[in-house]
């Protein structure tokens, strides 16, 4: 007699399947919260921005250089604070990209495991320093002691875009170094060995094998750092000043988009006023800039990266 076979789940299995289903639901809900939050932020940003453009001509906003949204009569030429953000962002990247990539190459390819095990955590701690500390460092040390003394063009006052940019660069440096190092360290050792076996030295292995293979991670690190630099508020607010002006001299004071949001956000703008809505318009612009940066980086990576898996 053949014993009866059942492929029906037993009671225990059935209970486990139920638990599994509950866990899946909870995790999906958590993932959903992140997505929904992001969408809601965009909506909250866009709605006041749209009503802002009901009052202000878009072309005046995008093309004008006079930014006095809280004055009477107001002027809404965002160009001057847009350029302020570009200054701070590019100065920061000029500081952070070479230093950060240099540090990453050192840690990943040159340093002994012992040195690496000490320096890497220190770097990651640096990434956790509150930005307000950097802001005061820029205002009270870098601007008076370095920028004011060394910058050759014009007179440097209490505030300067340059000081804010330099210190923002220091702030994002650990991000660039740490993430780029992660990308380089994850390049398979077999590739390095192959290159060494062809007689390459460390520099050649780093530049011609590790760097191209790690490129997508490195670009991601730089883009993340750039987004943080452009969006950095506290340092710009404290050290760059609050006078929106279009200037080709970073030794002068200036306002950035994020700096303006921080500045106007703590002011007493009447909710619904055009001045209040201008905060959201600038926020939306900042959002668009960051998004474009991300899209551009994805293209760069697609074009140049070397896929090793």
């Amino acid at each position: 007699m053949i014993p009866e076979i059942s492929l029906q789940p037993s009671v225990g299995v059935r209970r486990r399947m139920l638990v599994e289903r509950v866990i899946k639901g909870v995790l999906a809900a958590m993932a959903g919260v992140t997505v929904v939050t992001s969408v809601l932020i965009v909506v909250a940003l866009v709605r006041p921005a749209i009503s802002f453009f009901g009052d202000v001509n878009f072309l005046e906003f995008i093309g004008g250089v006079d930014w006095k949204p809280l004055f009477k009569p107001p002027h809404f030429g965002v160009w001057s604070i847009f350029v302020g953000s570009l200054w701070v962002g590019s100065i920061a990247l000029v500081v952070a990209i070479p230093l950060g990539l240099g540090a990453a190459f050192f840690l990943s390819e040159y340093a002994s495991p012992r040195v690496r095990s000490i320096v890497k955590p220190v770097l990651e701690v640096l990434a956790g320093i509150p930005t307000v500390v950097f802001g005061f460092f820029a205002l009270n040390f870098v601007n008076p002691n370095l920028v004011a003394k060394l910058w050759p063009v014009g007179d440097v006052g209490t505030y300067s875009v340059l000081a804010a940019g330099l210190v923002t660069g220091i702030m994002i440096l650990p991000t660039v170094a740490s993430l780029a190092e992660d990308a380089m360290a994850s390049v398979p050792d077999a590739l390095r060995q192959g290159a060494y076996a062809l007689g390459s030295n460390r520099r050649e292995v780093s530049t011609s094998v590790v760097f191209p293979a790690a490129l997508s991670g490195i670009v991601a690190a730089v883009v993340l750092a750039a987004s943080r630099a452009i969006g950095e508020t506290t340092i710009a607010l404290l050290a760059a000043g609050s006078k929106a002006q279009l200037s080709g001299n970073p030794g002068e004071e200036g306002q950035t988009m994020a700096g303006f949001i921080g500045f106007a956000g703590i002011g007493d703008q009447a909710t619904g006023s055009t001045g209040y809505q201008s905060i959201f318009a600038v926020g939306a612009l900042l959002f668009v800039v960051t998004m474009l940066l991300n899209i551009a980086s994805i293209r760069v990576v697609r074009r140049f990266r070397e896929v090793y898996e």
Binding site: P113, A190, Y196, A197, L198, G199, S208, E306, V307
Partner: protein
């Protein structure tokens, strides 16, 4: 009279053999930290031959191979005692630069490790590192090396395609092409077929026969049949357990012509391994 002749003959033969020696290991031992991975290796690698290293895993055969082009330098804590001489020059002496050593003594690894670049750039990598810049010169080297590695016909129409897109066996032949592009004198192969299927393996073995006159080959294999098929000389390694620390150290048991190793080896341990009684 006859005895004298014989003696003379054997002396002649000896000089002839030593003329052909390209690598000599003398009392070679390798340490990882304070762990001695392999000891007392004495052998000679002869030009134009394929030399195989066989033995159970952990016996130090790959470790010894990696001494021959100083790849052990890249492992923190690795240390070499004794000497390895390349045409009489100590590979670990003050006169020897690791990069220069590796240009003359190339290596093919266990798993194919092409760079994530185009097929062309993989082969051109070594020549470029060594200063070849002219496109026409590189083109010629790339073609010659790919032909040499029996890969040209399969990839000549897609030299710009990524090396990651070809099969494992093709990748391994590409790695061979990459190595011979800088015309090393010796090619070290560390279990080059262990990640390949039998057909790809057969192609690599045929290729080794074709290129051995030009490139002296030392191959590590855990496949006895492969050693028997392809090699002229064979070194058999095994492990000895240290009774105090219970750690295993590799030793070279026997180094002889492959024919002798597989028919009437000098050492009973070799015979036990060959006949499948252990390992």
């Amino acid at each position: 009279m006859e005895t004298q002749d014989l003696e003379q003959n054997s002396t002649e033969q000896e000089t002839k053999i030593s003329d052909n020696v390209v690598l000599t290991a003398t009392d070679l031992a390798v340490f990882y930290g304070d762990f001695r991975a392999v000891r007392d290796v004495n052998l000679e690698i002869r030009r134009g031959e394929i030399t195989a290293f066989i033995g159970p895993s952990g016996c130090g055969k790959s470790t010894v191979l990696r001494c021959f082009n100083r790849m052990n330098d890249l492992i923190a804590g690795a240390r070499v005692e004794g000497s390895v001489k390349y045409h009489g020059i100590d590979l670990y002496g003050d006169q020897a630069d690791a990069g220069e050593v590796r240009r003359r003594i190339g290596m093919v690894f266990q798993r194919p490790n092409p760079f994530p670049k185009s097929i062309y750039d993989n082969v051109a990598y070594g020549p470029r590192v060594n200063g070849v810049r002219k496109k026409s010169e590189l083109d010629a080297i790339v073609e010659k090396s790919l032909v040499g590695a029996a890969l040209w016909d399969e990839v000549k129409d897609r030299l710009d395609a990524s090396a990651m897109g070809i099969s494992g066996g093709q990748q391994q032949r590409l790695c061979i092409a990459r190595s011979i592009a800088i015309e090393p004198e010796i090619l070290l192969m560390d279990e080059p077929c262990s990640a390949l299927d039998p057909i790809a393996t057969a192609r690599i073995e045929d290729l080794m026969q074709e290129i051995k006159q030009q490139y002296t080959i030392v191959i590590v294999t855990h496949n006895m049949q492969q050693a028997g098929r392809v090699s002229d000389s064979t070194g058999f390694f095994t492990t000895e357990v240290n009774s105090e620390s219970d750690r295993r150290t590799g030793v070279l048991v026997e180094f002889n012509s492959t024919q002798k190793i597989f028919s009437r080896p000098d050492d009973s341990r070799t015979e036990a391994y060959i006949t499948g009684r252990f390992g």
